[in-house]
Symmetry: C2
Subunit: 399 residues, 2 copies
Amino acid sequence: MTETTPQRTASRADAAPAHAAPARRVDDATVEQAVRRALELAALGPVTGGNPQVGCVLLDAEGRTVAEGWHHGAGTPHAEIDALSKLPVPHDARGLTAIVTLEPCNHTGRTGPCSEALIAAGVARVVYAVADPGANSSGGGARLREAGVEVDGGVLEAEAEFFLRRWLTAVRRGRPWVTVKWASTLDGRAAAADGTSQWITGPAARQRVHEQRSASDAILVGTGTVLADDPSLTARGDGGELLAAQPMPVVIGETAVPADAVLRSHPRGLIETGTRDLAAVLADLDARGLRRVYVEGGPTLASAIIAAGYADEYLVYLAPALLGGEKLALGDLGIRTIGEARRLRVTGVEQLGDDLLITAEPAEPAEPVDPAASAAPASTTAVSTTAASTTAVPSTEEN
Amino acid sequence: MTETTPQRTASRADAAPAHAAPARRVDDATVEQAVRRALELAALGPVTGGNPQVGCVLLDAEGRTVAEGWHHGAGTPHAEIDALSKLPVPHDARGLTAIVTLEPCNHTGRTGPCSEALIAAGVARVVYAVADPGANSSGGGARLREAGVEVDGGVLEAEAEFFLRRWLTAVRRGRPWVTVKWASTLDGRAAAADGTSQWITGPAARQRVHEQRSASDAILVGTGTVLADDPSLTARGDGGELLAAQPMPVVIGETAVPADAVLRSHPRGLIETGTRDLAAVLADLDARGLRRVYVEGGPTLASAIIAAGYADEYLVYLAPALLGGEKLALGDLGIRTIGEARRLRVTGVEQLGDDLLITAEPAEPAEPVDPAASAAPASTTAVSTTAASTTAVPSTEEN
């Protein structure tokens, strides 16, 4: 065990012989199968916490799996390190092929760079699916090649890109992946004329919302909703118990959350933005590593997020009921004429009890933008005349 | 052929011997199978025209099918007569069992009573699924028994009731079956801020609307829609050609349709109600035999129909798009608090191109009511304080 401990200080010349290509190169079909397995492993890790879900499989020269690993969450070893630690002789990967869903990082964060660990362990070849988009963490592939390791990127790239798209999108844009959720009647109402809204949807739909909260890094609500509903914004099981993963509640607006608000006892604490500047809010959340945010409303906040082009995903719970009246799930989106309609693509329809859950994404997703320019996101539809007005929550809308 | 011509004047005593029970009674399983076949035959007839879809199978004593028939539409022979005319010796049904989806009529309308025709033809036994609810046409079963024919009603009644429910409901309530259709974005909007709405839904959804028009006796629109859109309200194929069956356009409101309106050249003509009194309008349509009406809007008319409790069926086309703003597919429904929400039951979700078609019915359908009392329909939800205001189209709503 001692002699195979990874040596960070090993020179490239010392390491070179171990990196010689294996006598027999693992064939493409076996590699693809291993990438699929690595994606399965990746899915075992948490979706929240800011880090990507990554899986790793180590193959010998005959294509047989020698070890598997995945990332268990921020602050724990990356997938490659997890797999290396499970080798018969831990961290002795001489002659092996490492299959990873994401390009090995080249960055010393809470853990050391995976590129160096793979070099030190003596892997002969690295195959990854998707390139690391991180400004600080990319370059792992180049570093590995530099050290004499054979590197193949882009294997099953589309599958892996889809699997990681929320995280990849967040990193590329420098802002969180934004899921906007609302519940309405079939006629688009979120409450009756007197403001009552409990309950529009049934227990199965409401339980799903708790699960979605638990799979989010943060829940965004406007101050109006906090003042009107005094919500707890916790993620709870169907017995009312707190789920293991809780999102951070974020209250957007200038009004302070009351001292006696239920939200003040949230297990994750509370972020009050003190501003309605959505670009600033999202940049701040990104800096905190809150990559998946779940917008719960009310209508004013949801409309402002959509109008500004920040909605990456829509979860629309439709109750088989009609209410009429003026309490709409969405307010004004700054759209003047039909050609400016914000077109979506339905990605799923699911029956939950008596209700329907319609999931959708923008028909033409916004292009990745420079974080510094995120106040004016790329969008195919004109939403307003000035960036300032699209990113501020309008105060004329109720709730 | 001449000797088997039905004799309307045949006395019961003359006919009696032919009505003796067959030596061998057709067993229940064979009868049920024949009812199912009769329902298939019924479905071959038109859904419009005011008459029910009815099928008839004639079985011999061994349960073998001797003849089949169905109703081809108003003014043509009823299903029983159609089947009798197809016998090897037409109208000689001595010893046969007649299977009919609806109780044979006892009424001389455009055709003679089927009860008398079956008696004259010498059938031994009549089995029907659903009793005739018509005030003028019912009593056929009793008349047959009186003539010595063995009669069994209610076989596969639930299936036949479901098959005929639109017609049965219309006859029982003394008003047409009302289908309310609208197309909206996922946020419940029917148009953009400037009033443009072409097109919210795609070609597949719009073609389906034409097919639904063609399966309706009448299309109802408000005067606002006629003035705003100048619609043709014809049922057209995907090449723009007129379909064979055209609905009667009915314009509800006090404003006259302009002399140069496209609607004035509709192939079925035009009904202008001159009133917004929905109870009076529906009673008039019922009197004209227009049993299936399709409410196309606008929002004011659709909302008034729903608020008054007249909507028997909802067809909601949801486009994967968002518009925001104030042009709603439905306006006010007179609902004050969540407990009064008009609850529906989703009966289907279908993808049509990029759009969704959600079909629904009232969760608790209105009870059959006396036609004279239809101005205040039975309903489980409070809709307004006075019947007068619920049945008049409010003038404050736009469109």
